[in-house]
């Protein structure tokens, strides 16, 4: 009974992120499987309003290709986008970062920026040759908006290990280290997290 009460007391109020089903298009472009599609409706008004604040909005997309019934993803691709409204030049600068490297593009309209932040356009996944025929595949994506910075996480862990700011060691730092294990697993890692799943597709 006591355990039950405690469990009720400590159950986090944070709701689980549900998976959103979206339709994407898949293409064979030069022997490479690409994915195109968007999820603009997930970019809510609060985020839209903040776009022109002059502060950066960062979106991290991790795209996983699965074979239906398979446990592990066949391939994982990532892209990071960082949009900043330049208050001086009064236009957006979007930085793209993926396997192809880092590049910048400038936009004047909010809509164009939101499109870039919430879509994949002919995003390369893997070589078609590696895709088996007549097998069902799907893509899952985890999109994080303004993820927790590594520096802050590291700093929090350091505080946990050394609550008094002194050197490490002793029972207090042991407890802190114990707690810090959970920081990775249980803490919310971003301002928004979207989990998206595509429809099934196959190579004819």
């Amino acid at each position: 009974m006591i355990c039950g009460l405690l469990l009720a007391a400590v159950t986090p109020a944070r709701a689980q992120t549900s998976v959103v089903a979206k339709r994407f298009s898949f293409e064979d472009r030069g022997g490479v499987l690409t994915i195109s599609g968007g999820f603009r409706e997930l970019f809510d008004k609060h985020l839209q309003k903040r776009l022109r604040s002059g502060f950066a909005t960062t979106v991290v997309m991790r795209v996983y290709l699965y074979q239906q019934g398979g446990g592990k993803p066949i391939v994982v691709r990532a892209r990071t986008l960082r949009a900043v409204y330049d208050l001086w030049e009064q236009r957006f600068v979007v930085r793209f970062e993926d396997r192809r490297g880092r590049r910048h593009r400038k936009f004047l309209r909010d809509g164009a920026v939101i499109d870039r932040l919430t879509s994949l356009w002919r995003f390369p996944l893997m070589r078609m040759a590696k895709i088996a025929r007549a097998r069902n595949y799907f893509v899952a994506a985890i999109v994080e908006v303004n993820p927790m910075s590594r520096e802050v996480l590291a700093e929090v862990r350091r505080w946990l290990r050394r609550p008094s700011g002194g050197h490490e060691g002793g029972s207090e730092s042991f407890f802190g280290s114990f707690v810090s294990i959970f920081v990775n697993n249980k803490v919310r890692r971003s301002e928004r997290t979207w989990k998206i799943r595509s429809q099934l597709f196959y190579k004819p």
Binding site: I2, V10, G54, W88, V152, F178, V183
Partner: protein, 521 residues
């Protein structure tokens, strides 16, 4: 699980859970207070941060507007318009240079005038350096008459860097606020895990301790049951050094004493029965002996015939009957002595004095072998014995050794050593000889009445010895190796004080009272 085990486990759980629950409540309170304080602090910080960001934004907008307005003002400069209108390139250049150098247009770094043909007719810089690392520029293009005016304004980059740093700080503050809220939850989770771990450990330890205790108690309970059913060989294993181990030790000691008492009483009962038989036999045999002997003597004396064969037969019969009657008399005497053993009259006796007394009064037996010696006990030890009976015991043991050696024809090499030593509350008296020894089957029966291996023995000597020792509250045992000798070990109660003497006297009296009554001499 037994009720006893459940009680122990529940107690341990209670001991573990109560402070933990109190800690949970306290920690929850501390977290709430801490969060409230931190939230207030964050609120106090986030508002100025937000205002600072707004101020920077307003600054950027204002400065940009200033530059735009400046460009518009420049485009309305009458001298410029006149020079452009008259295609006076020199005048245009002069005026552009004046405007760039004048302080009326802050931040103006470069000014260029393009004519209607789109080519630059005049341009000037204010001569200052505007490195990109420290300045941002704003290029403004304004129509000027038929041409265009291109003005480049510069503003320090520092406010932009500060704004970016402010953004990072604001974001970090937001993240830390988010983390702080979630850390409270994480701490509670960790506490719950530790709480669960403590519960598990407490339960495990409780079950372990309870099982260990109850197992020991169950073993003792079973042993008590066995003792109650009469099995006095029962012993329990003593483990550890706690009270239960003490209890087990005390139980074993108690059972040992019970067993010893039962054996003592059993032996004394057996001896009592044999004493009664001996008394009756002595009585029944003793009475006809004298008439038989007298009758035989009369027949032998009265015969006056001259038949030599009959005379011889009569002489032989007389000799045989006389000898047998004498043998029977000795037997009757032995039976009689056995049946009428005196009651024990214990008194504190110095063991050295007792042995010295023995040697004085039993010189005869000590002279029938090579040597009988004794070791003086130091310090002086007193035992609670009947002096006369205990001397009789020592005599019987020495006599037994001598007789056995005489039967084996080794009495001349026989050495008997009598020694005593203090052993806790008891005194151990040993009579050791290097005689022929005895096999194990003989050793086991040696104290049985009427059991003897000697030609002249009655089988009563050692039975009497044991009876006397037991009636003193002592014990006797024998170790023997054939060909090497035997050692009789007697354990008697030692007394150091008058109080102890009185206690031992009471013990012996109780023992004699409980033992079967033997007719005193």
């Amino acid at each position: 699980m037994s009720r006893f085990e459940i009680k122990i486990v529940a107690t341990l759980l209670g001991i573990a859970v109560i402070p933990l629950v109190a800690s949970v409540i306290l920690v929850g309170q501390v977290i709430r207070v801490s969060n409230s304080v931190a939230a207030g602090q964050t609120q106090r910080l986030s508002v100025p941060l937000s205002h600072a960001a707004d101020a920077y934004r307003a600054l950027f907008v204002a400065r940009r507007r200033v530059f735009l307005v400046s460009a518009k003002l420049l485009a309305r400069d009458a001298a410029l318009l006149s020079a452009l209108g008259s295609s006076d390139r020199e005048g245009l250049s002069r005026r552009v240079a004046e405007l760039v150098r004048s302080r009326g247009f802050a931040g103006l770094g470069r000014l260029a005038i393009r004519g209607p043909d789109g080519k630059v007719w005049a341009s000037a810089q204010n001569g200052k350096q505007y490195p990109a690392a420290r300045f941002r520029d704003l290029e403004v293009n304004e129509p000027l008459g038929g041409g265009h005016l291109d003005a480049t304004f510069y503003t320090p980059r520092a406010p932009f860097l500060n704004f970016r740093a402010l953004g990072r700080a604001q974001r970090a503050a937001n993240e830390i606020t988010t983390l702080r809220d979630e850390l409270s939850s994480i701490y509670r989770w960790v506490f719950l895990i530790m709480f669960g771990a403590v519960l598990l450990v407490a339960t495990g330890v409780g079950i372990f301790v309870a099982r260990r205790t109850t197992r020991q108690v169950a073993v003792l309970s079973g042993a008590v049951q066995e003792v109650a059913e009469g099995d006095l060989r029962t012993q329990v294993e003593v483990k550890g050094r706690d009270e239960l181990a003490d209890l087990a030790r005390a139980f074993n000691e108690m059972v040992g004493q019970l067993r010893e008492n039962r054996e003592r009483i059993g032996y004394l009962e057996k001896i009592g029965a044999w004493q009664e038989i001996a008394r009756r036999l002595a009585h029944e045999i003793k009475n006809p002996l004298t008439p038989i002997q007298l009758a035989m003597q009369q027949v032998h004396r009265k015969y006056e015939g001259d038949d030599p064969r009959f005379r011889k037969m009569l002489d032989d019969a007389h000799a045989i009957i006389t000898e047998e009657v004498e043998g029977l008399r000795r037997l009757v005497q032995a039976f009689s002595s056995f049946a009428r053993l005196p009651n024990v009259q214990p008194e504190p006796v110095d063991i050295n004095a007792l042995l010295e007394d023995f040697f004085k009064s039993h010189v005869e037996v000590t002279q029938r072998c090579k040597e009988v010696r004794w070791r003086e006990v130091e310090p002086v030890v007193q035992v609670m014995v009947d002096r006369m009976l205990m001397k009789h015991v020592i005599y019987n043991l020495v006599e037994n050794a001598v007789q056995a050696a005489e039967d084996a024809g080794t009495s001349e090499a026989l050495e008997v050593e009598i020694s005593a030593k203090r052993d806790g509350q008891r005194v151990t008296l040993q009579v050791r000889d290097n005689g022929p020894g005895m096999p194990d089957d003989v050793r086991k029966r040696i104290f049985n009445p009427y059991y003897t291996t000697k030609e002249r023995g009655t089988g009563l000597g050692l039975a009497i010895v044991k009876k006397i020792v037991l009636e003193h509250g002592g014990s006797i045992g024998v170790d023997s190796v054939v060909g090497e000798g035997s050692t009789f070990t007697i354990r008697l109660l030692a007394v150091d004080t008058e109080l102890e003497a009185a206690t031992v006297r009471t013990t012996i009296s109780r023992l004699l009272r409980d033992a079967p009554k033997a007719e005193p001499r």
